[in-house]
């Protein structure tokens, strides 16, 4: 993967030139992505780091083909406790598989919050890599009357410091120049380098030697007892990784002292070292040395006075900013939740209703394409494969786009303005009581519209554990694809009356189905939290970034990136599944039925006879009768012929399904589904709807030989169907059992595909499908058997 992503299209001409790599590090919300966009001019590739769900964004440094820029996840620290930090740590230390250690690091720093941002900088300095500090948000700092002496800061840190305003593009040329210097000048083959850029200049502020700033290490100090322990461990590490520099080893020894996941990884790679670490921590603990926060305190002790020395603040720090005043309303204990609820209603409304016209257009377009394909293709299997397999599959992907676009527009707005963090603040307590976190609210509610964007929205969760739980329960929220199924069966089998003359039974039934799904989602979350993900939850400490105006370009990039991922990654799987299901429903072919052939011929002959008789009566050739306006008698005969042919086709399709692998499979497993009240036809409907829930309607229409998807006709057909003994197949109890089955069963290939993509494994989606199917079976069984026991089966 990495070799592919490292090869940019333009660099192929200079592939012999050594590839240099620059990593971008920085705290969240400091404009790291904007700097990355500016440096790469939006020529980027997105991939995943192996084994984790963290995105690896990379691009080519503008004007230098041989220099790759990698955007690391935003972190406050390199001590690995979250997945993001683990990735940043592993890449920078050089422990990431398939990812060579970068040659230099640029650290984006928020000028308005220098002290906290310098924490990460001191860690980067300890790594022994050339570091360039990009002092961002100088404009915001200026507005707040904070001035920073960047020369003095460079002096203190011993590395180049470049003041920039990433949003406006100010200082980016200087930053590029400093970066060239950091990696030892632009590589030779860089024909694409813009001539206006110096390619081997001195860094802005750095003390460059041979055009390359010397790696620098800060002299912050640890408590003596801890320092000795770190030195010992760094020595021990030399046996395991002899090619590492002393700086690398020291950094790793310090990190492993307080990071359990890191210690575990060393337990596999170098058991002796891991054992030494355990001994050391035990000894420190016995002696009461507070080693766990020694690093943080040591670094801040060093940073504090230096940050003060280079920063000058004219204004009063306590003065409430605009953000503070906005928050007084948006996080107010009464107004805050009300405003958030209103916003959610708006998003709901948008995804449920505003997306519908666009979805109808998509469906129209898919229908039109199908007709065009049928007209243009030779008939038979190829035509069926293209229309029913491929086009229907693509349609299944594209039909979600309007909802996804709209939802991601709103989510993007919430993230870009900084409001998302406030929604977490408001709902955290409530969600925590159910085993989730405040950040799960939006993904879960989005899943009422569609679990696909809902699962993708779970990316905003920074705790891996919360993210997995949220994704695992999101498909239990009744999505809009279940609605047509609910509607059909409710209309067919739930009486239209109302309780107390107010609440309609049908509406009540629909509400109960939604409630059932939602309730189960919360129960499932609670079970996952208490059974699977036991133990201490990660520390919740969340920055509430200052409100910002969203920028159209950034917002669009965010939306487009996610939509692209959905179409490319999930689309492939959905398309494949559609084709497979088509094959299962189409093979083996049913033998042509001689009776039906005869019926077809008879219907055509009848019509021809009518045409002939009219032609004879008028003394004109038959062709003259059928061209132009048809006489009434002929028109009636034609309509009758078409009706008959459609009915014969429908019976043939029904026979085909009965004959197909799906039909055979359904009849084989009928005994298993029987206790739920489902005969083989309903089972075949469920099996056909494995890829997408709403397919059960067209599948039942085919099985019941109802031409087209005429709901009313289908409803009648369902009600009047009888089994061999003459008892009705569908009783209200069977309908309820089937609806309950649909509340739980994960009949959606798109959801599985997107869950696989987001969780980067097939394991979780498999568990998801199994537990939801288990719930569906169990609850339908209870409904049907319980109902029968209560005498409701008739």
């Amino acid at each position: 993967m990495s070799s592919e992503s490292r090869r940019s299209a333009r660099s192929s001409a200079v592939s012999e030139a050594p590839l240099r790599k620059i990593a971008i590090a920085g705290n969240p919300n400091v404009g790291k992505t904007t700097v990355f966009n500016r440096l790469t001019n939006l020529q980027q590739k997105v991939a995943n780091y192996p084994g984790v769900t963290v995105e690896r964004k990379s691009g080519t440094l503008m004007g230098a083909d041989g220099i790759e820029v990698v955007d690391l996840p935003g972190t406050y620290s390199l001590s690995p406790s979250s997945v993001d930090e683990r990735v940043a740590h592993d890449v920078l230390v050089g422990r990431m598989d398939g990812e060579p250690r970068p040659d230099a690091v640029v650290c984006v720093v928020d000028a308005t919050n220098l002290k906290r941002n310098l924490y990460l900088v001191t860690q980067l300095l300890d790594l022994g890599l050339p570091v360039v500090v990009a002092l961002n948000m100088m404009d915001v700092a200026e507005k707040r009357e904070i001035s920073i002496d960047d020369d003095a800061l460079a002096e203190e840190l011993g590395v180049p410091v470049v003041p920039i305003v990433a949003t406006a593009g100010t200082g980016l040329d200087a930053l590029r120049t400093a970066l060239y210097a950091a990696v030892g000048g632009a590589p030779d083959g860089s024909t694409g380098a813009s001539p206006s850029l110096p390619t081997n200049g001195q860094a802005e502020n750095g003390r460059a030697e041979n055009g390359r700033p010397a790696p620098s290490s800060v002299r912050w100090s640890l408590q003596p007892a801890v320092e000795r322990a770190v030195e010992d461990l760094a020595d021990r590490l030399a046996e395991a990784v002899p090619d590492w520099t002393a700086a690398q080893r020291r950094f790793e020894a310090l990190s492993v002292l307080t990071s359990d996941p890191l210690l575990e990884s060393w337990a596999d790679d170098a058991p002796a070292f891991a054992a030494a670490v355990r001994e050391t921590t035990d000894a420190l603990e016995d002696r009461g040395v507070p080693y766990r926060h020694a690093e943080s305190l040591g670094r801040y002790e060093w940073i504090g006075p230096r940050a003060r020395r280079v920063t000058q603040q004219a204004g009063e720090a306590d003065e409430p900013t605009l953000s503070d005043r906005i928050d007084a309303v948006l996080t107010h204990r009464v107004a805050g939740p009300l405003i958030f609820a209103g916003l959610l209603l708006l998003i709901f409304q948008a995804v449920f209703s505003w997306a519908v016209p666009a979805m109808e257009i998509v469906e129209e377009a898919v229908g039109w394409t199908s007709r065009a394909a049928r007209a243009g293709l030779p008939g038979g299997l190829v035509e069926d494969l293209v229309v029913e397999g491929v086009i229907a599959g693509v349609g299944n992907v594209v039909v979600f786009l309007p909802q996804i676009l709209l939802l991601f527009f709103f989510l993007g707005l919430m993230e870009d303005t900084g409001y998302m963090a406030r929604t977490t603040f408001i709902t955290d307590r409530l969600m925590r009581s159910m085993g989730l976190s405040g950040r799960s609210v939006v993904p879960l509610l989005s899943s009422y519209a569609c679990a696909v964007p809902g699962i993708m929205a779970a990316r905003t969760l920074d705790s891996e554990r919360d993210r997995i739980i949220t994704i695992m329960v999101a498909p239990l929220m009744s999505c809009s694809a279940r609605l047509p199924v609910y509607t059909l069966f409710i209309a067919a089998f739930i009486p239209a009356g109302s309780a107390f003359g107010m609440i309609g039974y049908q509406g009540l039934a629909l509400f109960a189905l939604y409630l059932l799904g939602t309730g189960m989602a919360l129960v499932a979350a609670w079970v996952l939290r208490t059974v699977v993900f036991t133990g201490e939850t990660s520390t919740f400490a969340m920055e509430l970034p200052p409100y910002r105006l969203p920028r159209a370009g950034h917002l669009w990039q965010r939306i487009w990136g996610r939509v692209r991922l959905f179409v490319l990654r999930a689309g492939k799987i959905i398309l494949g599944a559609s084709v497979v299901l088509w094959v299962l429903a189409s093979f083996p072919r049913a033998a042509p039925d001689p009776d039906r052939q005869a019926q077809r011929r008879a219907a055509r002959a009848q019509y021809q006879a009518m045409v002939d008789s009219v032609a004879a009566a008028r003394g004109r050739p038959p062709e003259a009768i059928t061209s132009g306006r048809l006489p009434d008698a002929v028109a009636v005969a034609k309509a009758r012929r078409d009706r008959t042919l459609t009915a014969i086709d429908a019976r043939a399709a029904s026979a085909q399904v009965r004959q197909s692998l799906i039909g055979r499979f359904s009849r084989t497993i009928e005994p298993v589904m029987r206790p739920l009240g489902f005969d083989w036809k309903i089972t075949a409907g469920i099996v056909s709807a494995l890829a997408a829930r709403e397919v059960i309607i067209s599948a039942l229409a085919t099985l019941y030989s109802v031409g087209g998807e005429q709901d009313v006709v289908l409803r009648e057909a369902l009600r009047s169907d009888t089994d061999a003994d003459g008892d009705p197949v569908f009783t209200p109890l069977v309908a309820v059992s089937l609806m309950v089955f649909f509340v739980f069963a994960l009949q959606c290939m798109s959801t599985l595909a997107v869950a696989k993509r987001e969780l980067n494994s097939w394991g979780w989606p498999a568990v998801m499908w199994l537990y939801m199917f288990g719930l569906a079976y169990l609850f339908s069984l209870v409904v049907y058997q319980g109902g029968q026991a209560l005498g409701l089966g008739a």
Binding site: Y76, S77, S79, S81, T112, N113, K115, R116, Y119, Q223, T258, G288, V289, P290, R292, H293, S296, L297, Y300, G304, A317, T321, S323, D324, D327, T331, H332, R333, V334, G336, P337, A421, T424, F425, I426, D428, R429, L430, S538, T539, F540, A541, M542, E543, L544, P545, P546
Partner: protein, 155 residues
């Protein structure tokens, strides 16, 4: 000390996380020398909490795990100028003094909640948790559970 200062009490009698000032170390000679050697002396300030059957006294430089009978002979009084962050009322604040635990959540430290940093409680979330803090002009949200571990110096 003026007459209004609270009375001294054995270390074992303080609730978990209480900030105390040591007033008298009434343990026998050798043990006293050992404790003094590691930094425990009259007038020093720290936090107490209990762990299994030990009484833990956390100072800035060292954490003592004391047996209950030893702890019972050390007298201390609460420090009235220190308040737990979770107990502040909205608008109140002051410099962070220390964490009342030997193992403070590292995330909090990394995000700038370190000793001597001015911290203000701005408001609580609608359901009372988490808290909205102002740390040096930066808005930060942490849960009450963690705020209980943080002692703020309120003048």
């Amino acid at each position: 000390m003026d007459g209004s200062s609270p009375p001294t009490a054995p270390l074992t009698t303080f609730p978990d996380g209480e900030a105390v000032r040591i007033c008298q170390i009434g343990v026998p000679g050798r043990e006293a020398r050992r404790l003094r050697g590691r930094g425990l002396h009259k007038g020093c300030e720290g936090c107490v909490w209990s762990k299994a059957d030990a009484c833990v006294l956390g100072l800035d430089t060292c954490v003592f795990s004391l047996q209950r009978d030893v702890a019972a002979q050390i007298l201390a009084r609460p420090v009235p100028t220190l308040t737990r962050l979770s107990d502040l009322s909205p608008g109140q604040g002051g410099p962070l003094r220390r964490y009342a635990t030997a193992d403070p959540p590292r995330r909090l430290l990394e995000m700038g909640l370190v000793p001597d940093t001015p911290v203000q409680l701005v408001r609580r979330a609608p359901l009372g948790d988490p808290l909205y803090l102002n740390v040096r002009g930066q808005a930060l949200s942490i849960r009450t559970r963690h705020a209980r571990l943080i002692h703020i110096h309120t003048a």
